[in-house]
Point group: C2
Chain length 276, copies 2
DNA sequence: TCCGCACCTGTAAGAATTTGCAGCTGCAGT
DNA sequence: ACTGCAGCTGCAAATTCTTACAGGTGCGGA
C-alpha cells in the first residue's frame, strides 16, 4: 500500500487521462437489482479506490463495460474544477477533450439542465434539432466514441451535495437495444445517486481547498453585514460594541484571503459559509 | 376549466393545507415499471394539475396511497419559500407544521444532506442516535403520522434545477414490508426525479418573483465590487469616473430592493446575477 | 417629436469603513 | 504556569461610501 491510499483514482481531468481502460467483459445483462443495501455498501467504502472497485463490479454485473462519475465543483480560487472517477478508456477521454467535444456534447448539455437520464446516442426523440451544423459534429463524436468502445450508454445527471452539476455515465461496447437499457434505467439511476452519495466527499477532499475556519461571531457578523446592516447595527444586534464587529469582520476578511468587507461577503456566500 | 389552469395545485405551504386528502385505494403492489417513457409523459404535462393527476395514477399503480413533492426554493425577498405539490392528508400537514415537526423530522434532515432514499419509519440502521431526547419526539411523530394514514413510506431527496433542496415522498396507509418497498425503490427514485424535472418549473413560476433587470454596467460594477475593488478602481477598469460607478451601484442597489452596497452584493450573488 | 431609459459626470456634507495602535477576560491544551 | 486563541473594547487618522443636489448625450419606441 504505502502511497496507495485515498484519492488515487479521483484525479483532475488533466491527470485522469493516465488511467487505464479497464475492460472487463464476460458476463452481461445479469439480473442484478440495485437496492438500498448496495448504496450502503458503496457508502461504506473508505477510499475512492474501494468505491471504484465496488462500482466496477456493480456496473459490470448490470452489463456495462465502462462507467464514469464526473463532477463540476465550484471552487472560488480559480473558477471551477472538474473531477472524475471511473474507467472510461483513457484514449477516448484524451481525444474527447482534445477535440473540444466537452462544448458540443449533448450529454453534458442535458445533464446540466435536467434531472432525468439521457440515453445515447440519439436520445431525445423529437427535439433533435438537426438544423444547425453542430449536429454533424455530434454525430461524429458518437461515431468516434463507438470506435473507442463506447457504442451506447446511459448518462444520469447529478445535482446537489456541494457539486455544481455532474453526471454518472454507464457505457457498453456493444449495441445494447433500447429496451435493454430502459428496463434497467431505474437501477442505474439509483446506483448513480448512490455513487454520488458515496463519492462526493472524495471529490471535495481532492478538489476543494480546505475552508477557512471562521468563528461563530465572524459568521454572525458576515451574515448581518450581508443583510445590509452597518457595523453599529450589528453591534446592537449582538450586544457588543461597534468596534468589536469591525474586529470580527477584519479577521473574517483576513481568513478568507480577500481584501475588503464586500469581497468577504461575496466569498463567504459562494463558499456556503453563510446563506442570507 | 376556466380558472383551473396553471398552478392551482402548487401552493405555498400555508394554502396547501386546504387541499383534499385524495385517498384512492384499491389496487396495490402492481407490476408497474417506471421508465423513460413515463418521465416524458410527466414532462409533457402542461399544468401542475395534469402533473399531479399523472403522478397520482403512477404512485397508486405502484401501491402507494399518498405522495408529495416539496421544494425549498431560494428566494431573497423574505428568506426561503417552501412549495409543495401532491396529496398528503391535509389534516396531517396541518398537524405536522403546527407541531413544529419540520425541525425534528429525520426525513427532512436526511434529504437536505444526502442523495439516497430514506425509508421510514426507522430507516438508517446504525446511526439512530437514541441518546438525545429528540428521538422520543421523532417516535411520536411517526406514530401520529401512522394514525393519519401514513404508516410507512419512502422519501427521495431532490437537488438541482434551481431548488435549494427538496424531496418526493411516497406513503402507504398500510404497513408495507421492507422488502416490498426496497424492490421498487429504483422505480420510485427515478419517478421522483421525473416529477422534479417536470414540476420544478411550476414551482419556480409560482414561487420566484421575477428577477430585477440590471443593466450590463450595473452587473459589471457589482462583479468588481464583489471582488473587493473600490469604486475608484472600478472606474479605472471600466474607463469611467468613480462617480459613475457609484451611480450604477446605487441603481443596482435600488433595483435589488436592498439598502447598502454589501446587501446588493449578497443578493445579486444569491439570485445568480453575478458569479465572482 | 417627445418620452423613457441607459449611460455618464460633477459637488459637497455626512456616514461608514479601514487601518494601526493598545489593552482586557476566559478557556483549553501542554 | 505558560501559551494560544476566541472574544471583547477604546482611540484616531485616512479612506471610502452614501446621499443629496445638479446636469449632460444618445438611442429606440409611442
Amino acid at each position: 500500500m504505502g502511497t496507495l491510499h485515498g484519492n488515487d483514482r479521483l484525479l483532475p481531468v488533466d491527470h485522469a487521462l493516465a488511467l487505464g481502460a479497464g475492460t472487463l467483459a464476460e458476463p452481461r445483462h445479469a439480473l442484478t437489482l440495485i437496492d438500498i443495501d448496495h448504496l450502503e455498501s458503496l457508502r461504506d467504502c473508505t477510499t475512492s479506490d474501494l468505491l471504484a472497485s465496488a462500482v466496477d463490479r456493480l456496473s459490470h454485473a448490470l452489463g456495462f463495460d465502462y462507467w464514469m462519475y464526473a463532477l463540476d465543483l465550484p471552487v472560488m480560487d480559480d473558477r471551477k474544477r472538474q473531477y472524475m472517477l471511473g474507467g472510461y478508456p483513457a484514449d477516448w477521454v484524451r481525444h474527447y477533450f482534445a477535440s473540444g467535444y466537452l462544448h458540443i456534447d449533448p450529454v453534458i448539455a442535458h445533464c446540466q439542465a435536467h434531472a432525468t437520464p439521457f440515453l445515447w446516442p440519439s436520445s431525445q426523440r423529437a427535439s433533435v434539432r438537426c438544423t444547425d451544423r453542430r449536429s454533424t459534429s455530434v454525430d461524429c463524436m458518437f461515431q468516434e466514441a463507438s470506435e473507442f468502445g463506447l457504442k451506447s450508454g446511459l448518462s444520469i445527471p447529478i445535482h446537489g451535495l456541494g457539486c455544481s452539476w455532474g453526471l454518472v455515465s454507464f457505457a457498453s461496447s456493444t449495441d445494447m437495444t433500447a429496451d435493454d437499457v430502459r428496463t434497467m434505467t431505474p437501477q442505474l439511476h439509483l446506483l448513480a445517486h448512490g455513487i454520488h452519495e458515496a463519492g462526493h466527499r472524495y471529490a471535495h477532499d481532492a478538489a476543494l481547498p480546505p475552508l477557512p475556519h471562521l468563528t461563530d461571531r465572524e459568521l454572525e457578523c458576515l451574515h448581518w453585514v450581508a443583510a445590509g446592516k452597518t457595523s453599529w447595527e450589528i453591534g446592537r444586534l449582538l450586544g457588543v460594541a461597534e468596534r468589536t464587529v469591525v474586529f470580527h469582520l477584519q479577521n473574517a476578511t483576513r481568513k478568507l484571503g480577500v481584501s475588503g468587507r464586500q469581497a468577504a461577503i461575496a466569498r463567504s456566500i459562494v463558499l456556503g459559509l453563510i446563506n442570507p
